[in-house]
Amino acid sequence: MPAREGTYGLLAEFDTPSDLVRAARQARQDGWRRMECYTPYPVEEAAEAIGFHRNKVPLLTLIGGLMGGAAMFALETWISVLAYPLNIGGRPTYSWPAFIVPAYEWTILWAGLSAAFGMLALNGLPSLYHPLFNAPNFRDGATTDKFFLCLEALDPKFDLAETKAYLAQFQPNSVVEVEY
C-alpha cells in the first residue's frame, strides 16, 4: 500500500488518442514504468505502448467454467446414482447423456460469472475512491472525450519539476499535479 499523502503523480491531458499513444510510447522508451493511460473507450495501442500485453481473465474463465461443469455433473451423478435413484422406464441410473445439458449450462454460468467478476477483481474494483478523481480536469474528460497519461510518483525517475518539463515536450493541453 503506497503512502496516502503527497503527490500521486502528474497527469497530462491530450485531445486525440494518437497524441496519447505517441507520448506513452516515448515515456516507456525513456524508462518509465509506473505509468498509466486513461481513455474514454478502449485504446489497444495505448495498452501496448505502456507494455500491458496479456491479462489473466481468460485463465480465470477457463477455471470457472471447468469447475462449474464438473460440479454439476458430479451433483447429477451423485443424486441419480446414490442419493435418490429412480427407475425411469428401466433406464440406467447413471444415464450420463441426459446429465450433459445441465452440466453444459453450468459450465457457461460459472465461466461467465468468473469472467465478469474476475475482471472486476483483477481491476481492483469496486474502489469508489481514487486520487485521480481529485484532478480538476479528470472527471470532465476521462469518461467523455479526453485522453490522459499519468506518470506516477512511485516511479524512481519521478521528480516533480523535471517530470513536468518532460511531459510538456509532448504538447499536452495541460499537466496537472495529482494529490492523494
Binding site: 486513461y38 473507450y41 491479462n55 474463465t61 457457461i108 454460468l109 465461466a111 469472467a115 465478469a116 469518461t143
Partner: protein, 471 residues
C-alpha cells in the same frame, strides 16, 4: 443492385461503400456523449414518458390482479384442462423467451462477427432480453400451481430427501433459463459500467452522482482496466453465443422429447432457435422505431439498422418456413397414421384458423415484402411488419401447444381449448409489465452504449506520425 435505387447525394449514404451510414456525419465524442447522457440526466422528463408510464403501469396492475386471484384460487381459473393441459402459460413462456434471444444475438453473436452497426442498438436489445426473460420466467412458476413450492425444482437438501429427476427436459429448462437470465444480467451490467461512469461524471445533482457512482464501481477508464474489460466482454460474448442457442433448444426439448405427434420431431431445436431470433428482431424493431423518433436518435439508430434487421428477419423467416415445410413433409413421410391425422387436423380441423393466421403473419406477409430495400427502409412499414411477425410467432406457439393436444389418440377424449379472461389478463399484463420496466430503463440508464459508439467515430483512429504531419 439495390444501391442504384437511392439518390447518390443522400447524406445518410456513405459514398465509399454505397451503404447507409452507421452514424450520421459530423458527430464528435462530446456530441454523442451529450446526446445520450442528456436523455438520462435531464431534470425535465418528457410528458409523453409520464403518459406511457401511467398506461404501462396500469396494465401491469392488471397482471398483479390476475396473479393475486390465481394465487388465491388456483390454476382452475385458466382455460387449461384435459386434453389441453398446456395453455397460455406455456405459449407465453416460449414466446417471451424467444423475444429475448434477439438481444443476446445482437450483443454477443454480432460482436463476435465484428458487426460495428450493432453498437447503437445492443444496449436496449439486451435490456429487452432481460425484461422479456423476466416475463417468461413468471409463467412456468405460476403454471406449477403452487408457486411457493417452486424451489423444489432446485437440487437442494430438503428434510424430505427428494431430489430432481435429471433425465427430464423440464429440469433442464430450470438450469437453461436461470443461467440465461443470470448471464444476460451480468453481460448487460458489465457492458454498462463505463457508461455509468460517464453519467457519474456528467451529472450535476448529488443524488445522481451517488447513484451512478455506486453503480459504476469507481470505473476510471485506465487502459489496463479497459484491456481486461475487453477480454471479459469478448469471453462473455463467446459464452453467451452457445448459451442462447442452447436455451431455445432446451425449451424445444420440452416438446420434442415427448412422444406426442406434432411435438416429437428432430427439426424442433433449429426451428425454435430461428423462430426465437425472428420474433426477437421483430420486437427490437417494435421498440427501436418509436424510441428513435421520440428521443430524436435518428443519427445513431439509422436506416442502416432498420435495413439490416429486416435482412436478419428475412433469413430467419426462411429457416422458420423450412421448419413448417419439414413438419408437413414428415407427417406424410413418416407414414404414421397419427402424425398424418395430427397435421391434417392442425391445418383443417376446428382450430385450423390459428394455423392460417400463423402462415399469413409469419410467411405470407413478411417473406414476400422484406426482399425490397425500399420497404425495408420504410419506417412505418417496418413497424407494421414487426407487429405482424410478433403476432405470427405468438400463434406459432399457440399452434404447437394447442393443436397438438386438443384431438389426441382417443376420439372419446377429444376436447377444445378456450382461454378465459384470466388468461388474457395475464398475457396482456405481462406486455404492460415489460413496457413498464423498459420505460424505467430508458429513463434511468444509458440506452445506447456511449463507449462503443465512440470507437466508431472517425476521431478514434490512431494516426501514424507521418500522416499527421501531412495534414
Amino acid at each position: 443492385m439495390a444501391t442504384r435505387e437511392v439518390k447518390p447525394n443522400d447524406p445518410m449514404i456513405d459514398p465509399a461503400t454505397g451503404e447507409f451510414r452507421v452514424i450520421a456525419q459530423g458527430q464528435t465524442f462530446r456530441s454523442i456523449t451529450e446526446k445520450i447522457a442528456r436523455i438520462v440526466l435531464t431534470p425535465h422528463t418528457p410528458m409523453g414518458w409520464f403518459g406511457l408510464f401511467t398506461v404501462a403501469g396500469g396494465v401491469a396492475v392488471v397482471l398483479l390482479t390476475a396473479m393475486t386471484w390465481l394465487f388465491l384460487v388456483g390454476v382452475g381459473i385458466w382455460g387449461i384442462t384435459q386434453p389441453v393441459a398446456w395453455g397460455f402459460a406455456i405459449i407465453n413462456f416460449v414466446w417471451w423467451i424467444g423475444i429475448g434471444h434477439a438481444g443476446t444475438l445482437i450483443s454477443a453473436i454480432l460482436l463476435l462477427f465484428k458487426q460495428g452497426w450493432r453498437n447503437a442498438i445492443s444496449r436496449f436489445a439486451e435490456a429487452m432480453t432481460i425484461f422479456a426473460v423476466a416475463c417468461a420466467g413468471m409463467f412456468p412458476l405460476i403454471h406449477v400451481g403452487r408457486p411457493w413450492l417452486a424451489y423444489w425444482m432446485l437440487p437442494l437438501p430438503f428434510t424430505m430427501t427428494v431430489w430432481p429427476q435429471f433425465r427430464s427436459p423440464l429440469v433442464w429448462d430450470v438450469f437453461a433459463v436461470s443461467t440465461y437470465a443470470t448471464i444476460s444480467v451480468v453481460f448487460w451490467y458489465i457492458g454498462m459500467v463505463p457508461d455509468l461512469a460517464t453519467l457519474r461524471d456528467r451529472s450535476q445533482s448529488k443524488i445522481a452522482q451517488y447513484f451512478y457512482g455506486m453503480l459504476s464501481v469507481g470505473w476510471r477508464g485506465s487502459v489496463r482496466h479497459w484491456m481486461r474489460y475487453e477480454t471479459a466482454s469478448l469471453l462473455l460474448a463467446g459464452l453467451a453465443t452457445p448459451l442462447v442457442l442452447s436455451v431455445h433448444t432446451v425449451i424445444s426439448f420440452d416438446f420434442a422429447v415427448a412422444v406426442l405427434p406434432g411435438w416429437h420431431t428432430t427439426i424442433f431445436p433449429p426451428y425454435f432457435v430461428a423462430g426465437a431470433i425472428y420474433s426477437g428482431f421483430a420486437m427490437v424493431l417494435t421498440l427501436a422505431i418509436p424510441l428513435r423518433k421520440f428521443y430524436h436518435l435518428e443519427s445513431l439508430v439509422t436506416e442502416r439498422h432498420i435495413d439490416n434487421m429486416g435482412k436478419v428477419m428475412l433469413a430467419t423467416g426462411f429457416i422458420v418456413a423450412y421448419g413448417y415445410a419439414m413438419e408437413a413433409f414428415m407427417s406424410w413421410y413418416s407414414a404414421s397414421h397419427w402424425e398424418a391425422f395430427m397435421f391434417w387436423n392442425r391445418v383443417w380441423g376446428p382450430m385450423g384458423w390459428s394455423y392460417w393466421v400463423l402462415i399469413t403473419c409469419n410467411l405470407a406477409i413478411p417473406l414476400t415484402t422484406l426482399w425490397s430495400r425500399k420497404l425495408r427502409t420504410s419506417i412505418p412499414f417496418m413497424f407494421f411488419i414487426s407487429i405482424v411477425v410478433n403476432t405470427g410467432m405468438w400463434f406459432e406457439r399457440f399452434v404447437i401447444v394447442v393443436t397438438s393436444l386438443y384431438h389426441d389418440f382417443l376420439p372419446s377424449s377429444w376436447g377444445t381449448y378456450r382461454a378465459t379472461k384470466w388468461d388474457y389478463m395475464t398475457f396482456v399484463g405481462t406486455l404492460g409489465f415489460f413496457t413498464f420496466l423498459f420505460l424505467l430503463f430508458v429513463r434511468f440508464l444509458p440506452m445506447i452504449p456511449m463507449n462503443e459508439i465512440r470507437m466508431l467515430l472517425p476521431g478514434a483512429k490512431i494516426k501514424p506520425k507521418v500522416a499527421e504531419a501531412a495534414d
